[in-house]
């Protein structure tokens, strides 16, 4: 379960509420960035190919496992990342060619069923290869310290590196879609598949590449989450559901929406966990307050999503077309 590990890694600074708040804000930002890496790929696949891919979390898991293994063997985190990215992208492209390609014309229900089957396959495959015990990844030595971004708030360098990497990827995606030829082709393929095909774009190849890009981002999220969470079979599902919440909140198919949704979900989840117990303790006895706060915090993201869907059924920043 994702919750437990995340809670243990939060450092509480009980003495100064303002500093605690900033710290939790950064934690929320870091979770939001991880979610963004996952949801960018998922929303692309949905927006362009109209496929619900429940197995997206599996590529996150593949990235984490390959990254953890290579890091443990070579001792280099960078090599771990460099191995995890192509592994996740390659696995994604193989799955696209073998299975997903046949699902584009089918309805959502078939896609849910087939990708549900793929989750089972990948979870069991990792159990066969790596066993049932979770793997633990160490934070690379050059990122173990902490940095005082704001005076008085020491913050782990590793988490700052994750945030920075996420911002870099976001910028890269923006440039890719707005400034390059392949980005233009992807957008053309999204708005009218036949027309783009008639104009000489190889749609099949393009879809495979887009899918590979999405799973590559999922793999990156996985390997970066490795040192923060435990690497285990099934780790993809707990984050997958949050990722779906993100893209539904943001508006399916919209990268900007994914960014907004990811940050919102990351902040609501993290701040809820940190501050709901404190707030509720003002009104209720401590044991009672903690129990209720824990359940409210876990539910908060889903409540947020239900509220947004009821008020704006197409999400906050819906894609055009």
């Amino acid at each position: 379960m994702i919750r437990r590990y995340r809670m243990s890694s939060i450092q509480f600074n009980w003495y100064n509420p303002m500093l605690l708040f900033i710290e939790q804000l950064l934690n929320g930002l870091q979770l939001g960035i991880t979610l963004f890496l996952l949801s960018a790929g998922l929303t692309l696949v949905f927006g362009i190919m109209q496929v619900i891919n429940l197995a997206h979390g599996s590529f996150y898991m593949i990235g984490a496992y390959v990254g953890a293994t290579v890091t443990a063997r070579t001792g280099s985190f960078i090599l771990g990342i460099l191995a995890a990215l192509p592994a996740a992208a390659l696995a994604g492209m193989i799955v696209e060619v073998l299975v997903l390609r046949r699902l584009y014309q089918k309805d959502h229900l078939d896609q849910v069923l087939a990708t549900f089957g793929m989750i089972m396959f990948f979870n069991e495959l990792t159990r066969i290869i790596w066993g049932r015990q979770p793997l633990f990844m160490d934070v690379p030595p050059w990122l173990t310290g902490s940095i005082e971004l704001i005076p008085g708030v020491p913050y782990p360098s590793y988490r700052i590196a994750v945030i920075a990497a996420g911002i870099l990827v976001g910028g890269f995606l923006y440039l890719l879609f707005t400034r390059t030829r392949i980005g233009m082709q992807i957008r053309a393929g999204a708005s009218n598949r036949e027309m783009a095909g008639a104009l000489g774009v190889n749609i099949r190849l393009l879809y495979t590449l887009v899918f590979g890009l999405g799973t590559l981002l999922a793999g990156l999220a996985g390997v970066m989450a490795g040192p923060i969470l435990a690497v285990e079979a099934g780790m993809g599902e707990s984050i997958l559901i949050l990722t779906f919440v993100v893209i539904v909140i943001g508006g399916i198919g919209s990268i900007r929406g994914a960014l907004a949704g990811a940050l919102l979900v990351g902040l609501v989840d993290t701040l809820g966990r940190a501050f709901l117990p404190i707030v509720l303790r003002l009104f209720l006895s401590a044991a009672y307050a903690d129990g209720i706060a824990a359940s409210m915090a876990s539910m908060s993201v889903y409540i947020l999503m239900a509220t947004i869907l009821v008020c704006r059924p197409r999400g906050l920043l819906p894609a055009h077309g």
Partner: protein, 329 residues
């Protein structure tokens, strides 16, 4: 009744389920009775999902929530009944109970009420959003029960003994099996009447073309909501049965992978048919059971099997067995 492949398939199935406890007794495998009780209960949940999925066109990925509510309702009531403590002392006194005559209708009512609230909010959306919002509500309830420490939280809660019913000993596995079979048969009969009634016509019509049904003057939202509630209540009844069968309830019952499994049962068997979900539940659970004899990594075979079913057996297993004379299309 015309004798065709479909009637033959149904009759074979019915006879098989009726004589199963006898067969299990002959083979000296009493475990089979337990296994098939479980199959019947999941079949009930799958049939209820099929009502909204196959006939109403509402793809819900949160059906296990109602299953779990039914199970928890039974467990919490009989927990208090056993302890002799009230469930609520304010605003009114509500005592625990162990009688199935009280508990099972309560489970159905509670899950139906939950379905009414969730349905009223979810049915404002369609398509992918509907899938996701039902999923979100189910996860909300899942985390709610995880944090319910008084009733075991994450670890779940055990039932001290099965509920009581006049004239039936639920503790006896064979009697319990026949009760499940009878419940499923009654539900299937009710289901069959429902889909061929005016109500069922409207539901099926609004799946095909909602706009046309609206312009014909049908308040489709209300019909769909009623369908959602009936499906939720059916799953609640299945939940009440599973709580009695396993004598244990945990939040795992309402995890989203459970919703996925029920969905798989419906699709595997053939959605939009009466008996398809029963066949799907039996196939999936038996396949799990069989594969786990040979390997602990049975999911590595089950996963690709599901993919193959989607790619090559679109109408589900029931469509293959009953042929083109299936219920619909």
């Amino acid at each position: 009744m015309v004798l065709n492949r479909q009637t033959l398939a149904i009759a074979t199935g019915a006879v098989f389920f009726l004589v199963l406890p006898g067969l299990a007794g002959l083979a000296e495998e009493p475990y089979l009775v337990t296994l098939f009780s479980r199959i019947l209960i999941y079949a009930l949940a799958a049939v209820s999902l099929d009502l909204m999925l196959g006939f109403g066109g509402m793809v819900s990925l949160g059906h296990a929530a109602f299953f779990g509510i039914g199970a928890y309702a039974v467990c919490i009531f009989s927990f208090h009944g056993f302890e002799g403590t009230p469930i609520l002392s304010w605003p009114f006194q509500l005592d625990g109970n162990q009688s199935g005559l009280v508990l099972w209708p309560a489970a159905v009512l509670l899950s139906g009420a939950a379905a009414a609230v969730i349905g009223a909010l979810s049915l404002r959306t369609t398509g992918m959003h509907f899938i996701m919002i039902t999923l979100a509500f189910a996860q909300m309830l899942y985390y709610f029960f995880v944090s319910l420490e008084a009733y075991g939280g994450d670890d779940g809660i055990s039932l001290f003994s099965r509920n009581t019913l006049p004239g039936i000993d639920l503790g006896n596995d064979i009697q319990f099996y026949y009760l499940c079979l009878a419940t499923l048969a009654v539900f299937l009969f009710f289901f069959n009447r429902l889909i061929h009634s005016r109500f069922g016509m409207v539901i099926r019509g609004s799946k095909e073309n909602e706009r046309r049904m609206k312009s014909l003057g049908f308040p489709t939202f209300r019909y769909r909501l009623a369908c959602f509630i009936i499906a939720g209540a059916g799953a609640g009844l299945a939940g009440a049965l599973i709580a009695n069968q396993t004598e244990y309830v945990s939040p795992g019952l309402m995890h989203w992978t459970r919703s996925g499994e029920i969905l798989v049962m419906v699709l595997l068997g053939g959605m939009g048919t009466l008996f398809g979900p029963v066949l799907g539940a039996a196939t999936l659970l038996l396949l799990e059971e069989l594969l786990s004899i040979y390997t602990e990594h049975w999911m590595i075979f089950l996963g690709p099997f599901l993919v193959l079913v989607v790619l090559f057996a679109r109408r589900g297993l029931y469509g293959m067995i009953a042929g083109s004379s299936g219920d619909h299309d």
